[in-house]
């Protein structure tokens, strides 16, 4: 069971209040019409899915309902840090 710190509520809450929304930091192409099929497909579907440090988007679904980012180890499940949307992670994979 994760014990997750919501940076908006500034409180630790249990995993069940949260929902994982996949990989973080995926910018929408600025000009989608100019994308090739490959570029658009990769934006839509291709993911990093690392075994190790991963930056993810989570939503405090049963709480403040706001999104935030989390850096987590996908092997040990250790949560390294949480940070708000628009901020950059301080813990990154080598």
């Amino acid at each position: 069971m994760f014990h997750i710190y919501c940076p908006h509520c500034a409180e630790y809450r249990e995993e069940e209040e949260f929902h994982a929304a996949g990989q973080a930091h995926i910018p929408r192409p600025l000009d989608p019409d100019a994308c090739s099929d490959k570029e658009w497909g990769e934006y839509m579907f291709f993911r990093k899915n690392p075994r190790g440090i991963h930056h993810e988007l989570w939503v405090h679904a049963a709480g403040c309902r706001k999104f935030f980012n989390m850096t987590r180890d996908t092997q040990t499940y250790e949560i390294k840090e949480v940070y708000k949307i628009g901020e950059q992670p301080s813990v990154v994979a080598e």
Binding site: E42, F45, T74
Partner: protein, 417 residues
């Protein structure tokens, strides 16, 4: 290879079963193979078996970092069915189903395939519409299926609560009588024994640490125990770790790895002689020959490689099972575990060429790879032997995520994704 038979069993009983041959060799790898298969699970071993048996390609190695069939093959809930909605997946899973039906004889190894039928329950009007549509599609594809009402379900599973008073009343179900269960370990062992008998080298406890790629063509793999091993073609069949292998090759896959967990109860007397699945309340249950209830859960929402699942997911699943079978409420659970499933955005597998020449991937089976084991091995072997994808595998190219030809089985397949 020693042939297994009732007579053989009797003969060996005279010597206290002390003279059985080893089921497969434990060879030191050669310097070069025609085909290397990374991953010694059910799919990888089936691929090796069919490569040797149907295509005469016997200079093959299967490289497994742990032991044979120790990953998802040993962690699934053993359910076999082929009632998928779309033509592409229905054909693929039905191909597997037909192989399942003769598998024990073909392998001379009892995989305990039991066609006890699979029920997919519907709890809402929309569930029932989807079930009607799927069963019709199945029948058009020559796959057996029926839509059942609660009375007929009650006849098949008398212990299930089909009353209108439950929280999510059972409104009906799809019923595939040819579906069932198989003993998952035996499937891996049977294919391993078969492949070994044709001369395939099964290399266990050996991890592929990198791929050797020259000018965009794969020429071999690096291993932690035996150095470089050359190969003309390489097939990656590593399920949850596919992204890790793809990263070695320098490309990304449209996959996310999630923990999927299952649990078994203490053994109880026979009570459930079919498979019950419910997409809506999200649980599935069958009873093994040993008597334990085999219960499957949903995936955890986050990505993870930890081979363990989260407690909220177990709780949710057990709630669903107890809701359906109130008599199970006091059954104690014996073991719980997780496997890592590689899920695709459209809930369909990838059996594909890759941007690297002569490197092929079989991955992305998500929560439903076990049922496809013989079929996936069969078409992947054909693709590896010829260097061109088998017609049944063609639609499952990884490049469908570029051209948009997705096969959207999410929810439509009666699966608990």
């Amino acid at each position: 290879m020693q042939h297994y038979s009732g007579f053989g069993l009797f003969k060996h009983s005279l010597t206290h079963h002390e003279n059985w041959q080893r089921v497969w060799r434990n060879p030191t790898p050669k310097k070069k193979y025609d085909v290397i298969i990374i991953g010694g699970g059910g799919h990888g071993l089936a691929t090796a078996y069919y490569l040797a048996k149907e295509h005469g390609v016997t200079n093959v190695a299967v490289i497994e970092k742990g032991y044979l069939g120790g990953g998802n093959t040993a962690r699934n809930t053993t359910i076999v069915r082929s009632n998928y909605l779309w033509d592409e997946s229905a054909h693929l899973y039905e191909h597997a189903m037909k192989l399942w039906e003769g598998l024990s004889q073909d392998l001379n190894y009892n995989v305990m395939f039991s066609q006890r039928g699979v029920l997919n329950l519907g709890h809402t009007l929309q569930d029932m519409r989807d079930i009607e549509r799927r069963v019709n599609a199945n029948r058009l594809n020559g796959i057996d299926g029926e839509v059942l009402d609660p009375q007929s379900i009650k006849e098949i599973v008398p212990h299930m609560d089909c009353s209108a008073n439950s929280r999510y009343p059972v409104m009906g179900a799809s019923w595939q009588p040819r579906g069932g269960v198989a003993r998952h370990d035996a499937v891996a062992w049977g294919f391993a024994r078969g492949a070994d008998s044709y001369g395939v080298d099964l290399i266990q406890q050996t991890e592929v640490t990198d791929l050797i790629i020259e000018d965009g063509t794969i020429v071999g793999v690096k291993t932690n125990r035996f150095g470089d091993i050359k190969a003309d073609r390489v097939g990656s069949v590593v399920a949850g770790n596919s992204t890790v292998i793809a990263k070695m090759a320098g490309f990304e896959l449209p996959l996310e790895s999630h923990p999927l967990q299952a649990l078994v109860s203490e053994p109880i007397k026979p009570v459930l002689d079919t498979v019950v699945m419910s997409n809506h309340v999200h649980g599935y249950v069958s009873q093994s020959d040993k008597g334990d209830l085999v219960i499957g859960a949903g995936i955890d929402g986050y990505t993870g490689y930890g081979q363990r699942g989260s407690y909220p997911t177990i709780e949710h699943t057990v709630q669903a099972i107890v809701e359906l079978f109130p008599m199970f409420s006091r059954v104690r659970m014996n073991r719980q575990w997780g496997g890592i499933v590689d899920t695709c955005p459209d809930a369909c597998p990838i059996i594909s060429k890759t941007p690297i020449k002569n490197l092929f991937f079989n991955c992305g089976w998500g929560t439903g790879g076990f049922k496809a084991t013989p079929g996936a091995g069969n078409v992947f072997a054909a693709s590896l032997a010829k260097g061109e994808m088998h017609p049944l595998a063609e639609p499952f190219s990884m490049f469908r995520f570029h051209n948009g030809a997705l096969i959207d089985e999410h929810g439509a397949a009666g699966v608990a994704h």
